[in-house]
Structure formats: C-alpha cells, structure tokens
Symmetry: C2
Amino acid sequence: MAKNEKVTIYDISKKLNISAATVSRALNNNPKISEKTRELVMKTAQELNYKQNRLALALKSGKTNSIGVIVPYINRNFFSAVIDGIEKQLTPHGYNVIICQSHEDAINEANHINALLNTQVDGIFMSVSKTTHDTVHIEKILENNTPLIFFDRKKDIPGVSSVTIDDFRGGYMATEHLIQQGAQRIAHFCGDLNLEIYKNRNNGFLRALEDHNIPINKNLIIHTNSRIEAGAEAVAKLWAKKNRPDAIFSSSDYAALGAIQELRKLKVKIPEEVGVVGFSNEPFTKYMELPMSSIDQTPVTMGEIAAQVFLEQINNKQHVLSVEKRVVLAPELVIRKSSNKTKSLKGTPPVSTE
Amino acid sequence: MAKNEKVTIYDISKKLNISAATVSRALNNNPKISEKTRELVMKTAQELNYKQNRLALALKSGKTNSIGVIVPYINRNFFSAVIDGIEKQLTPHGYNVIICQSHEDAINEANHINALLNTQVDGIFMSVSKTTHDTVHIEKILENNTPLIFFDRKKDIPGVSSVTIDDFRGGYMATEHLIQQGAQRIAHFCGDLNLEIYKNRNNGFLRALEDHNIPINKNLIIHTNSRIEAGAEAVAKLWAKKNRPDAIFSSSDYAALGAIQELRKLKVKIPEEVGVVGFSNEPFTKYMELPMSSIDQTPVTMGEIAAQVFLEQINNKQHVLSVEKRVVLAPELVIRKSSNKTKSLKGTPPVSTE
C-alpha cells in the first residue's frame, strides 16, 4: 500500500517546477538556497505528506532528537522514576524518550541496542541486565559513536559515563542501623554478586559487621534473586535450622517483602524478634501492613543527572568519547516499623523516619 | 565524526569486487541474487559495520520490526502489565517493542506519534492521554498506513481496532458488591468523565443503584483525578457535611488509597462504617495495612490480545484499514478486607477473594 508509493523529492520538484537537487538542498538547509525557496519547499513537503523521508534526513544529519533508555523492567518504581528524571531534563530540549525493557535478558538487551542504533537515536541510557556478562553488544554503541550513559547497573567500559548510587554506603547504613537496634546475627539476602550493585551492598554489609566487631557467618548470607518468593524461601530455609538470625538486610525490597510474609506465617514478631530492612524504597514498602525500612536511591535525581551528563557530552562533540563522568549519589536510609524497636530515633543524617 | 563517514554499499562493492547494484540487490533479498553472493555480501556488510544503512533499507521495505506503545505512565502496574502482554506475544515474532509515556499530555502524545512514524515502526499500540480531546495527531498514524490498536483508553475512530475491558460491568460489580454488604449511601469518585473508561464505570455505578432501587444522590458523586491526594480531599469534603456515605466506590485505586488514609485519620472504621472498593487492582492494594477490594482488569490478557489483533492485521495487508476488531474483556471483582464485612462470601463468579 501507500508505504511503497511514498512521496519523493521528485514529487515536490514536479509540483514546484524546480530541480530535485534544489529540493534536496532546501530540505537539507543548504545555505545556497534562498529562505523563500526553502519555505516553499518545506510547505509543499508538508502538504504532500513527505514525512517518511525525514528519516532519510535524520540518516544524513545523524540527529533524530530521540534518545533510548534500556532498563531491566519498567514496572519497578526505581527504574520508572529514573526515566521520569531523564524525561524531565530532556523533554524541554526537544528530545523524545524511547523506553525498552530487557526483562533481565542479555539477548533482548542486544536486540534493543541494535534497534535503537538502527533508528539513529542521539544517545542511549542503560541499566544492564543481570544476565549481561560480556559487553560486546554494548561496545557496538561506542563503535557507532553514539553517546552511552550507564545508570545504577553499569559495566566497566573505558570512556563511558555513569551515574550510580553509593551502594556500599547503602549496605553499610542498613546494616549499622540493624546493629544499633541490637541485632547480632544479621542475615543478608545478597542478590546476584555478578552485578556490581549487589557486590557493593554486600561489601557494605561485611564492612559494617567488621567495624562493629561482629563475626561474619557465611551461613547467614543467602543468594536470592529480587522476587517475593525468593525472600520467603530464604526465611523458610533459615528458620528450619537452629541459630536463627535476629535481623535481615535484604538487597531487594521484593525479597524483603517475601521474608516478612513468611515470618508472619511463622508467627515471628517484627521488629521485636527480627528487624528487616530492604533496599530501593519501592512505594509498596510504605503501604504494607507493617511498613518496611528501606534504602532510598533517589532515582529521579539519578535520571536528571544522567540526562545532564548526556547534554554536556553532546555539546562537547569534538571530545565525545573522551569525556567520562562518574557520578556517585548518596543513598538515604528510611526507617519504618519493620526495623524500629525504639520510638524515638537517634539516627544520624541522612536518615528519615516515616 | 564517524557518523558522517559511514560505510556505504560502495565500500562493500569495492571490497568484494562486485557491482554496487548487486550489493544493493543482495541486501534487499532480491531473488535474482544467488544465495552464495547474498551470504558473502551480508557477511562483509557486518564486518564493515554497515548498520546505519539498514535504516535506509527499512525506509525502502517499510519494515523495521519495531512497534511502538504509547501509555500515559509506565509506573502504573496496569499499563506495564499490558506492555508485558504485548511483548510476550510479539518478541517471539522478532519485534522490538519501544515504549513512550505521554504523562497524560496530548502534546507529548503527538510528539511521540511523530517520532514513532519517523522511525517507521510497523505498528502503534496506544492508550490515549486524559488531555487528548481532538484526534488529528492520532489520525496521522492512519494516513501513514501504520496499523493502530487502542487498548483500555480509546477514541472512536472508524477502522481502528481496540481491546478494552467492560468498564460498565466493572462499575456495576463494584457497586452491587457494596450494596450486598449493606451500603445505601454510596459515594463515587468518578474520575474524568471525558474519558470513556470513567464514563462507563460511572454508568455502571448508576445502573447498579437503579437496579437496586437506590436513589441517585449527586452530592455523593465526586470528580477526582487518580491521585492519592484527590481521594483524601474528597473524603475530607464528604465528612465535613452531614449525611455521610456508608461506602465508597472509587474509579481509581490511588484515590481509594487516599480515601482510606483519610478515613483512618478521622477514626472511621473500615469496612464496618464505610466499605471501600477501588479499580485496577494495583499491587499495592494487596500489601496495604488494610488490603483493598478492587476490580482486576486482566491487563496481561489485554496486551496479549492487542498483540494478536496487530498480527492478524499485518498478515492481512490488502485490507489493512478495513479490518476493525473491538474486543471487550470481562473485569473481575477481587474482594479484600476494605469492603468485606462478612467472613464467608457468597459472591457470584467472576469474584475472587484473597
């Protein structure tokens, strides 16, 4: 149908009785063409519905005013909030933000990268999937000279800017808070240590124990994914044994939610017998029957800063690959009922209670 | 930089010592070219990093294997679940799903449509924004002969397929359930009646009252948006007067959440004094201190069916604009504590309790 019968510059040239070369130059904003002719061509192009060839123009100019964002899932509040921050900064600059989800699958991620490069986006923001081990497909972005900015989950690729939060500090704060609440046997749901963010949270956990002279007990470190069921299973496993934990620090809010559900089934009192702290401050943590303490990652700020890094990078084109910024944001501990034994809190900032 | 020094078919032709026309035909899968030559050309194209011109190919064939989805917000579980349904169906067919959010702004929506048409997507799925009144920007999709499928929130445009749920039935079920729980003065938070979905929920509410011989009281119908604050304000307004309601049916889970928070502040007992039912079955409704009854819209099914309608449409190209499907799904009432005074439920299917 009409897609194959599309309007070409020849149709415009015929209608205006000028050469196709002139039409082409006018559409390309060639300074040799008078403003009057340019306007006439643009108007006729619009009348004839010449839109598809604007893509060809983009192909030529290398600018589409679109940027792509690849996240594992859009339905995690953390990721959608980062995207909001990116849009907040880039929409006023005329950018269209296109979102893709990898579903934690490196193959999907590679397909999205190809599609985004094929549609000539002006930049790509990404948070890598859990199954992304090698980075060949990501390096294609750089080979294409398209700016790339990592947020939250990154890979170490020279020349690539990133905006992350200090996950080590987040892990440290959560653990220290539980120790201050009297915990001595803290279980840690550590997530996939292949990802830097989880490794750093884990390191923060270990350092806090060390700093407070609490011996590390490997039986209390459970590898979970970030699903509700994983947290429930981890609790079932821990409570099947003797020497149960007196606190849980979960690198995932969802696993922490599963833990709380399972602990309630087992009639374990929270926070009296076991304090629980999650990570991400997903909105549901606030609305739970027993509101959950968590680490807030200031995702909107993360998205805004990622967008600013992108704008700086493209406004500095001659060095496009040599500018590398690594912004690390401070996390915030939000203390709620699930870990708060004392009524008045003596937490040091940045700590907020709700 | 390299974006302007890109590899052309001439580079491939030079390297292989064959004509540029042969290279072009091979890349276009022209049957005149032998399989051996085609493979050689493809391999060389890959080696030379010929990716950008694949866009030119897409321009020629009119197929990019990308489809665009425009939703008001990605961070509403309903919309992200529909998108999951679409991806579940289309990813196995080699489609890349690109997501854009309108933030309920018709201008954003128009910009996204332009960008998606310019990148030559093979189809657009959309749920219109609340501020979309005229449909000129949407009709551009049809003028471009790109398949368009509405889901949930649609506009009446001839020839456009849609997948929606029976909002009238959802409104009716929620209201009838409250009546069966003994309510006689039911307040309704009706949303923006400019949108069909809210109009239909409102009509379902009105019909249920009528069928149960309950007089309609306009003072109990409150125009709210779907934000937590709107629900809290509506309760504050209703409870400032005499003749307070004994139940609330909110067209939005978020407004219902705000209502519950405000009712608790006012020490009103839920569900004993006031039963509350929301709409959408957002995940937080389950995790609330007082789990909320709601209407489930089966969003994954909605996305899957929307994707199937798209596939049928493109596989039936000669009639691409004449195929119009209107699929209406049945909603499901999920009864939880916020509206359940009786311990044993006698609900008629489709009703589930949790």
